[in-house]
């Protein structure tokens, strides 16, 4: 069952066509890779899916709802969330606070309930905290929960960023180059983490990656972009031997 369907998605910035007539879909529970040389438009696709950019043409259907042109905060509420290429957390507050902030859109009690100390608010706050701690444990960040986010190691911050995204209770995660700059053992840990996220938390994952080992390793299917257009789609084996893909990557950087 498709959780996200992208049809004829196009984004033009003035004269520049960043994404052209993109069509693909992701089924619930899959891990799909989105690859392509630098500047192929992969992050732009994420921005389009999450509502940061409005598409020039095309439609996006998520979980049965047409989310084309939706604002980012509404897309998150529906269950689609992304992480950023450069690790983005809230550096000045504690790891736990970061996580609880991520739970924001799932808390219903607003300002009035806060002032009047309603029991619903207290319950939801408690729930937020428990969920946060649970995810932190899952990510092996439990020991850090009281630390200020900017003081924990980079790799931990990376996991925290994913954790905050998970705190929004998404159905689908868009991960933008989760292993960039990591050494082989860290990369393997990330691979295991992503696989665990899919299996144990039931989240669908769309992954932008340059590290072919990661992509070939965990992705069930791969979509290849070049100059904003899809040039190939298929299983890792199919993509590996696809001549168009090889041509696209020839001469451009590829970390293997």
């Amino acid at each position: 069952m498709a959780i996200i369907e992208i049809s004829h998605l196009t984004k033009r910035f003035g004269g520049l066509v960043a994404v052209k007539d993109l069509v693909f879909s992701v089924s619930s529970g899959e891990i799909i890779g989105l690859i392509g040389p630098n500047g192929a438009g992969k992050t732009t696709v994420f921005n389009l899916l999450t509502g940061v950019y409005a598409p020039t043409e095309g439609r996006i259907n998520f979980d049965g709802v047409d989310i084309t042109g939706w604002k980012p905060q509404d897309v998150v509420k529906l269950g689609l969330v992304r992480s950023f290429q450069q690790t983005r957390v809230l550096p000045d507050i504690s790891v736990l606070q970061n996580m609880i902030t991520g739970y924001h859109c799932r808390i219903k009690s607003g300002v009035w309930r806060a002032i009047l100390r309603s029991s619903l608010k207290e319950r939801e706050e408690k729930e937020a905290r428990e969920q946060a701690l649970e995810i932190l444990d899952f990510l092996q960040l439990g020991d850090f929960h009281d630390e200020i986010a900017k003081n924990i190691p980079q790799s931990a911050q990376r996991r925290l960023a994913i954790g905050i995204a998970m705190a929004t209770k998404p159905k689908m995660l868009l991960l933008d180059e989760p292993t960039v700059g990591m050494n082989p053992s860290e990369t393997q840990e990330m691979i295991d983490l992503i696989a665990a996220i899919r299996e144990k938390r039931g989240m669908t994952v769309l992954l932008i990656e340059h590290d072919m080992k990661v992509v070939m390793g965990i992705c069930k299917r791969i979509v290849v972009l070049n100059y904003g257009e899809k040039i190939a789609e298929g299983t890792p084996a199919e993509i590996r031997s696809n001549p168009d893909v090889i041509t696209a990557y020839l001469g451009s950087e590829e970390s293997a």
Binding site: T50, V52, K71, P72, Q73, V76, K77, V81, R82, F84, R88, V89, L90, P91, D92, I93, Q97, I100, T101, G102, H104, C105, I107, S109, G110, V111, R113, A114, I115, R117, K121, E125, I164, A165, A167, T168
Partner: protein, 332 residues
């Protein structure tokens, strides 16, 4: 552990209630009332400036709208203070909506300048709409708040300084309570996220524009409340009290006290009310030194006095930890 905190607050409140009984000097009591009003101002402004991180320089406009609304309604229409008070707050809130809705789309310094512009326009309206506001002549003979009468048992009048102090004290405590509750909820977390990284905040489902509006509105409501209390305290208002310089002063209360903390605005309001009095002996040099002081504080203590206190406390904690370690090593 929580009970001791409640006890501490209770004792504090009792002490505050005793102030008029102890403070016989009428002028000091008057200062206490004014400080109380400005604590409401600063605490409200802290929500948009300190927590949400949006530099707003039009707070005097909300203060002024609150003051003028109740002044006009009570002198022209003879309306009851207790009706005017919420109306003043609503007027300030409406103004915040009008100013904020388009302006909060702007980032950092652009928003700051837009607020300056809006503040100046409001002041100009207060100054020039003579039919409504009596322009530069101001509004005088503002009556004290109507007495609270409970049947035949109890009448509380507010024409004495003492009783006015209790009125302001009540609203000040209410303000601080409400704001602390808001900050400790998801709204407070949203404000903080917006302040730190608003793009990131949006990406985790926070309606950035909506929460900025909310913070701005809340700060305006309390600004209007303070303005109304101010009006009925000093009994005469004119546009000169509601300039951009005043707004800047209010921002300084928040910043010098320590933005983004609950105590900061209290400290800041105290400081900026007491300081001009304390520096009175410097006479003509006062304002020049004030400017210099402002620069020095912003350069060396950007987190305000509360920030300095926090750093000192952290330093002290580190020292005592190391000395403990020293002891345990000694035993080895």
């Amino acid at each position: 552990m929580r009970y001791s905190k409640w006890l501490a607050y209770l004792i504090l409140i009792v002490l505050l209630c005793c102030v008029p009984l102890v403070m016989t000097n009428s002028y000091f009591l008057y200062m206490a009332i004014i400080i109380g009003i400005y604590i409401i101002v600063a605490a409200g402004l802290n929500v948009i400036v300190g927590y949400a991180g949006q530099m707003s320089f039009c707070h005097a406009a909300f203060f002024g709208i609150g003051a003028y609304t109740t002044a006009i309604l009570s002198t022209r229409l003879g309306l009851n203070f207790w009706l005017n008070l919420p109306l003043s707050m609503i007027a300030a809130g409406l103004l915040a909506f009008i100013i904020g809705y388009p302006s909060l789309r702007l980032r950092g310094p652009y928003f700051a300048i837009a607020t300056v512009g809006c503040g100046e326009v409001v002041r100009s309206v207060l100054h020039n709409w003579v039919d409504l506001t009596q322009g530069s002549m101001g509004i005088s003979n503002i009556p004290p708040p109507n007495p609270i009468v409970i049947g035949n048992l109890f009448t509380l009048t507010f024409d004495t300084r003492q009783n006015y102090y209790y009125l302001v004290l009540f609203f000040m405590l209410l303000t601080l309570f409400i704001i602390s509750r808001i900050i400790k909820s998801k709204a407070g977390r949203a404000y903080e996220a917006i302040r730190i990284d608003d793009v990131f905040a949006r990406s985790i489902g926070i309606n950035v524009h909506g929460y900025k509006m909310q913070a701005f509105l809340i700060s305006a409501l309390f600004g209007g409340l303070a303005g109304a209390l101010y009006s009925h305290c000093i009994l005469f208002i004119s546009p000169v009290s509601f300039t951009t310089a005043e707004s800047t002063n209010m921002v300084l209360m928040v910043i010098m006290g320590g933005k983004g903390t609950l105590i900061g605005p209290i400290v800041g309001a105290f400081l900026l009310m007491i300081l001009p009095e304390a520096l009175r002996f410097l006479a003509d040099y006062r304002m020049a030194l004030y400017g210099l002081l402002l620069m020095l504080v912003m350069i060396f203590m950007p987190n305000g006095l509360v920030g300095v206190a926090g750093s000192l406390r952290a330093l002290y904690r580190k020292k005592s930890v190391t000395s403990e370690k020293g002891v345990s090593h000694g035993h080895n």
